[in-house]
Symmetry: C2
DNA sequence: GTCAGCGCTGTCAAAAAGTTAGTGTATGGT
DNA sequence: ACCATACACTAACTTTTTGACAGCGCTGAC
């Protein structure tokens, strides 16, 4: 079997979209810091709404990157963590994030000269 | 200076969004195969609309990842290529894409068991 | 008793993406 | 000569995605 994200109908395309969608990268990277409960994770990722975090987690869980564990207690408690696949994937994302953060000065300069 | 993509108002957040937005990854990765003209690039990235490709390229150009060269001829001709920063960034994205494509069988299996 | 916190799910409006049409020149085929 | 196509976009309009907010049933702190 042969997967190619450049092909519109390849299933790998939708997986890539879940990962690199608006909140996918930050969710995976946030979980790479360690397992967390829903609202704790939400506090790690500044600006995400409850709805979008729930939606993002569901997509990542379906694709096998995230594990969801419900502790049946009566202050409801749900724990999220990365699967093995999620961890290796998150490492790539963290490398990307590190690279971006490291080169921010160059980006800001490019933006400044672009406006002239 | 200290950049953090997890902070909502950090400029690195918007850069990350340009890179990992719906078409950012594929645009960078597509250009990593070599410079290309607008419509040639569009053919590499199956499914992108003209509007979104133009918009994506403009954002990536402003951030200093993509170089745009206009050859004043009368079938208009515009050439796009990666800057040095664009190349190193695209390498991270290609690594991610390779990782995803390599593990697609696992993802598809996760999706299959999720529906049960 | 009142309030905040838990992990979500709906609703509705705003923002983003996609679709379609048009620009002006200049080739290629018939 | 004529029509279609390619080129690199932009503008107008429609559809999809997002984000902001309310509510759920229950608990523990004050």
């Amino acid at each position: 079997m042969d997967f190619d994200v450049f092909a519109k109908d390849c299933p790998s395309r939708s997986v890539l979209e879940h990962l690199t969608g608006r909140w996918g990268v930050l969710t995976l990277a946030g979980l790479r810091k360690g397992p967390a409960r829903f609202n704790a994770l939400r506090r790690r990722i500044d600006g995400v709404s409850e709805k979008m975090l729930a939606q993002t987690l569901q997509a990542l869980e379906r694709d096998g990157f995230v594990r969801r564990e419900v502790l049946a207690a009566m202050p409801p408690s749900v724990n999220y963590s990365l699967t093995d696949l999620g961890e290796t994937t998150a490492d790539h994302l963290l490398a990307l994030i590190g690279h971006v953060e490291a080169h921010m000065p160059a980006v800001l300069e490019a933006r400044a000269t672009a406006s002239r």
